[in-house]
Point group: D2
Chain length 347, copies 4
């Protein structure tokens, strides 16, 4: 699963996230699938399912592997996944013992989990950064007066600290959603049974998971996509919580309100006097984008039989985009908080 | 929040859920809001914010309260919420001390949480029931042969137990999503500050929560809707996991497969020989329905300022429907498992 | 298809539409299905497929038909549609010759088209009414000064007429979407072929359509749901165009802007000074509601084989709600335009 | 608007569309914006708003324009659009008279319309091609017997021609949706008024439109996004109609049915005997993808004031992807029809 959004040279500076997009490049996908194959070989050698020599060969040769991208593309068009073509190349260039007992979905889902986990660590760290920025703003402007507004009408006066506290509450909820995500290895073989490994199958899977820094689950999740849905939910929750901050920012920055001052703002091609809250608007856009896409990931829970090409492929088209959007949202929020030079009125 | 779906006399027998729909009737909503007001009065009396006599009056008189529905409706059309009109009636009929320091959203959100929690206990219990039925089927037919199918093609043979295990895994994931839902009281007053209650505000809120059997959160969540989104996610996860069971059921019941036999099936107005897997199709429908609606609940995370009429009202139009759909889905799945008389081929 | 939303006594005064909800009541659905059966019988008698006496009996007896709702509900739960149970009752009470050569979907889809067409005439008329109100506002305040705003920042000054013109443009686009909807009769028999009627099948269908005031299409559309999608698109376009008006209204009504004055506004249970733009917020809510649900109607285009219970039923759960939301949106917009007492600043 | 999907080297061979993706590349976007600027200059010279020499200079120099991509990217991040930075470069390298009286949105929306129109011609042509393929299959296998199936159960026997006719009906409906799309020029200046051009503004716009092969509309559509929504609807309709064909293909190709034979199918990395209907599954995926994304485009109808950065940017993130998905869907359907070697049973 390496679908990348926001690669566009013109749009990515606004809506993209270089660091996270990198994790969903073709190269990163292939690298993660190779990590899976190597860890699998080592674990299998330890349990005696392939020879120690075979595992060593795989571990040593993998660095020299040169994917033939054209053949991978042809394989994708024919097989709906690149793994059969990739495994053919790996068997030729690396070792015939690679990918033993595994199915394509094992490599693809595990590759996604490896990069999903890496992403989520980045997101968590950025969200912590956002809390620090909010604390800084609170320290600087928390006691300033601000009009509380309900139903888009002035309600009663409160303080900047009160508004910041609402932002923090919402973002903290999204952190909890993020922390509820699981990143288990996928290993089930063609129909999920790991028949070749008999009563050692769970031990083998657990060892594989540990080598990859992933969790292990009793059952395969080829057709049970709760881990995927949880990630989609968390990404949309993050963009939603930051979208709430974004719309508040836009409203506070309205000329007639003057509740907020910021630098680094957008300019107009014609109206030079304007200072547009571009980044705050982008937070709203990203929130609505993910709130749209999350629907499709839930649709893909209707995953027929042991493996649904239709439902599984839909995940690839949606989830990486949602993750990049969540990344972009955190990146932009940090920038926006950095660029904020005043909130509220001095008391 | 008492929007009821599936009230339709003709459609509710298929797509509705009488028990859960009842929890989202106007009457149940009003009853829950009254419970909130009574518990609030008692907690406030204990803390000395209103007199013990006032609280006692409220507790005693609430049973005689007769809502004037016409005026509530007029209030709704004017105010966008029924609470101002309701509080006027409560103050007249019950006590002028009712609703002290509270805002409409406190009553509405808490009422929803009370009924949300009741619903989720029902859902959990039904999901347990589903696991029992799956165990029964497993005991009866688990060793039968079944063709594992990937990408809608026969893959390799496995057993009925293997297929049932996949269903269980998916449903168990949805149970985890359900268990991650929080049901906190809402109590913040007009702009979330509970100013009237000074440093006793948290203690008061905690006491209120305990009397209602709800959780307490440090901050108000007037504009931080993570609890709402978590519920929507869980409902869609449940219908999605059961939708996967539903589509598998439909595919197994295909004439040419004969992998599954069932009773209680649908008939055709013309083709008398047909046995339609109506309930299994309905599981797919309900999954796609909730996967559609979940998007709107995520959209409502973009909740501007201290209270957004636009975003909040959208929750009312979506979430109760999603909850009823989740209820209907569990009800139908139990029926379908009950009606299943054979799976797979004897070994 | 008679799923009614917004039946809720408390919510419907704000979010419902009594006139259009009535068209989607169980009674209206049954009445429309009876109209279909009567027109079918008359057309069939004319072509000689049933006797003139039979048709006359059907026409005369239909007025006395008393549906047994309990049995219809049981039929729904069993068959996924109420028509088999309904036809049984009609054959008993009215005539055994009723429903000849038809399938349940013919009655259900045609009933929906009859009520869809009635709804759309109401919507068109209300949209005309909205244009009149906009003209009235334009006449009264068109030359007033108003700040044009882009990206939520003051741009350059223009006039109220300019802003009104934008609203009109958007609403006119939604009228075009509405006018592109087709309302054809559905008549195909069990598998769409109308075998019983040989080379007279198209003539029969055309005659049936004419009697019902519907269009006729060469092919049955049992599994080709473009007519349904077009209606969903139009409803969401209407609520979207009026949602644009709603958000502009909310922004203009902000205290610090004072660009708009209105009466009939919402009150707060606590903050008596507030004048909330409840109806304008509701327009935004309804826009986001329909923009959410339209997704599910598009999902139901994936309608397998000759009739998909899963996809077809999903339409019932979504489209009537969307139509009522479109109705509510037009109703609210008219009210809001009526209640608007000033826009912009006198020049 | 040049957001490109399916650029991924591994996924695009399955899910992408090289021809249409090319139309949404950065280069194609910049080229189309330059066409807009040139046509605008020529039209303005004709009407006397800029000198003929200025227009000639623009026309002659545009071919030598070398965009500085880095500065465009920086502009995008700062301004939310690349046009201010682009215009700066164009004024420096081409002529200071370029972009006179226009606003960024004029260039961006018109660029999108130019490429939208080009895409839609491609789609129309491919859909015609699909009808030809269906005719070919009908000629070859139309009289073969096939089981009609409703609610996933065998109904009655009909012929392959009957099933093909249903496919055609659905696809023809999507062609009608496509043909209802309008491709007007966008030209309104900063706040939509074209003040600089007085009573010649419509004539100028009409001339500009004609030079670009686009339509002209009386009003600007900066904040009235019906043209965008119509395109999104049509794209989702196309993928939906072909998704119906895709799911039917998958079901017919099931081993136990043997109703359809095809070549060019997918292989499994492990189960060599399998013949997976990869392309048919992809049609279902693309249908569900567009049915998901269409929701967000409808959400963006809530476009506040004269220009909403939040709503407009959301279109960029969704619509190009939907168009590419529609393209991929037509490409795959043609391939699939080509690869179909038998349908139904000989009579």
């Amino acid at each position: 699963m390496s679908f990348t959004l926001q690669q566009n040279q013109l749009l990515s500076p606004l809506l993209g996230d270089e660091e996270i997009t990198g994790l969903f490049s073709v190269e990163a996908d292939l690298a993660a699938m190779q990590s899976f194959e190597v860890a699998l070989a080592i674990a299998q050698a330890k349990e005696g399912f392939i020879s120690r020599e075979a595992a060593q060969t795989i571990e040593e040769n993998i660095g020299q592997f040169k994917p033939n991208y054209e053949k991978l593309g042809l394989g994708m068009a024919r097989d709906g996944i690149s793994v059969p073509a990739l495994v053919t190349q790996l068997k030729e260039q690396v070792s015939p013992n690679i990918h033993f007992g595994a199915t394509s979905q094992d490599a693809i889902d595990t590759s996604f989990m490896l990069r999903g986990k890496a992403t989520f660590l980045i997101l968590l760290s950025r969200l912590e950064n956002i809390f620090e920025h909010l604390d800084t703003l609170d320290a600087a402007f928390g006691t300033n007066k601000l009009m509380a507004r309900t139903r888009m009408q002035a309600a009663l006066q409160f303080t900047v600290a009160d508004r910041i506290s609402t932002w923090s509450t919402g973002i903290r909820e999204s952190v909890a959603a993020l922390k509820s995500c699981r990143f288990p290895v996928q290993f089930g073989g063609p129909i999920g049974l790991l028949i070749e490994f008999g009563d050692r199958s769970y031990a083998l899977k657990a060892d594989l998971a540990e080598r990859l820094g992933l969790e292990v689950q009793e059952q395969n999740w080829h057709a049970s996509r709760g881990n995927i849905v949880a990630m989609a939910n968390a990404c949309s929750h993050i963009t939603g919580a930051l979208g709430k901050f974004g719309i508040d920012f836009c409203l506070m920055a309205q000329d007639d309100f003057s509740e907020l001052k910021f630098t680094g703002s957008g300019t107009s091609s014609v109206m030079k006097h304007k200072q547009n809250p571009i980044q705050a608007e982008a937070l709203v856009t990203l929130a609505r984008f993910n709130a749209t896409l999350v629907s499709g990931v839930h649709q893909s829970l209707v995953h027929e039989q042991e493996r649904s090409g239709a439902a599984w492929t839909l995940e690839w088209m949606l989830l990486p985009q949602m993750i990049v959007a969540a990344g972009a949202s955190t990146r932009i929020a940090i920038q926006l908080l950095n660029d904020t030079t005043a909130i509220g009125l001095e008391p």
